[in-house]
Symmetry: C2
Amino acid sequence: MMTVNRQVIMASRPVGEPKPSDFAVVEKPVPQPGPGQVLVKTLWLSLDPYMRGRMSAAKSYARSLEPGDVIVGGTVGEVVASQNGSFRPGDIVLGYAGWQAYGLSDGSDLRKIDVSSIPMQRYLGVLGMPGMTAYTGLLNIGQPKAGETVVVAAATGAVGAVVGQIAKIRGARAVGIAGGAEKCRFLLEELGFDAAVDHRDPDMPARLKEACPNGIDVYFENVGGAVWNAVFPLLNDFSRIPLCGLIAHYNDTEAPPGPDRLPGFMRQALTKRITLRGFIVSDFSADAPAFERDMSQWLREGRIRYREDIVEGLENAPEAFIGLLRGRNFGKLLVKVA
Amino acid sequence: MMTVNRQVIMASRPVGEPKPSDFAVVEKPVPQPGPGQVLVKTLWLSLDPYMRGRMSAAKSYARSLEPGDVIVGGTVGEVVASQNGSFRPGDIVLGYAGWQAYGLSDGSDLRKIDVSSIPMQRYLGVLGMPGMTAYTGLLNIGQPKAGETVVVAAATGAVGAVVGQIAKIRGARAVGIAGGAEKCRFLLEELGFDAAVDHRDPDMPARLKEACPNGIDVYFENVGGAVWNAVFPLLNDFSRIPLCGLIAHYNDTEAPPGPDRLPGFMRQALTKRITLRGFIVSDFSADAPAFERDMSQWLREGRIRYREDIVEGLENAPEAFIGLLRGRNFGKLLVKVA
């Protein structure tokens, strides 16, 4: 067995956009499991926008990382040593080892996964946290009805792609926003969206309006920024906004300059009777069985498709993560660690 | 029968705060009912903040008034002539004659009310639109639980007073915000609120924080402005914001100067998993029977108390309405027309 554990730590707290120097790769001895513990070798690491929030000192729904901490993250790994009766070497498990080659766990955050017919890394994407974020937020808060228009940004990403395809399954019109012609083509040709809008187009607001001739009934908000500005005037009466991310603002260091749009938003929310609700996937953990049942079936039937963007090697995680915040990934971003 | 119908019309569209010259009292012949029509003599006119919205040209959930139009409003009146089989002279009806001494109706917007044991003007307040706004918004969106903290501004007003008292009935802690020591005393001593905060106090945000040691679970938003700024940092995870009014902004002529607080609000909504939902009372019209049953019972039991602020004479409606937008009223504002 290897005796060296490679880790990516937060070397310094990022101010604004993270820089490569905010990360450091360090080597530590591989820990040995004590009583009740499990040692897991990381095979796949998921990179997700929420990690930027963990690197911030701002109060949020989870503890902030401190400089020197291993960066958090969902992982799929193989049990290599166990002093826990529930796990034995060779088990493939979903867990939260973070950005490191080996992780120790008491087993409470590990879940054995069935990889007989499903590539294991799917449990970090369409069958995992991003897929369930899309499923629970869209169905519980967005509640799209047949014939309604659902708009989602970062639409080729791990969450957005699933939002649009579930909207289609529910009979709604799916409009995706993505960066660049290639991603837009993918939305239309591979994922079956009804319309795709390139957010790099200087006339993006006009293009979005053309793509939504009946306005917007559900805006699945995961980006904020310029997309939100374009969506806002198109929202219909009684529209719903599940809010699970604001990637355009994660690097903000202060409130943007005025005018102050908050009173105008509140007035629109009142006159249009809009529902806005922030959520994270764990708020709907009771939906996990329904999600797994539905998503497995949709995957088998080919009704949900997906794309993975795979980076090789833990040492390349920082650059890939910085690229994720810039929208450079194309599909669910994963690091193949071993 | 009188032959002169006094009306208050919108003489000019207000820019910012309405001025007396934006209103005019005019005299017209009293109309005579045609087939199917009912002539109603206005006894009571309700003055409510939403009327400022109708005077604006901005798109909203209802048609804007045009200069020359009689200002809209809920009324209680007496049928004085009828060519409609459902109504006869002497009937007391709830209707929407607006700011005028006589109104003609086809009967579809009239409802006979039982005034044998209830003063008729209650149907414009605690038993009418304002009371039902409080009831439906608080229970459907706010969903206060025992032990939670509910905050409402304009708390001695027609809606706010009912919000706080229903919160108490549901076992929640009611914190009211109002302008001046007399109104605050009324909240505590007459309406049974747990705490009252004077929004004129320069340290209002600190006073509100003291009044909400466990944070805020439900903020019933009907004012916006400085109160919202003070509430915002105190909102708890999973807090709910029924939004039915923004009186502090009704006279705004443009977006306030920056910084732009909207991204910060969205981030808080995400990390705290906040639900914000705009509504108007008609969105919950299915709840009318439950409202009437519960509110009648609470009034009989003395669990809901109320205060009316009565102005005599239609010609005094404009000044009273301007005062309402400044928070000068103390209780449900009504005009005794005849």
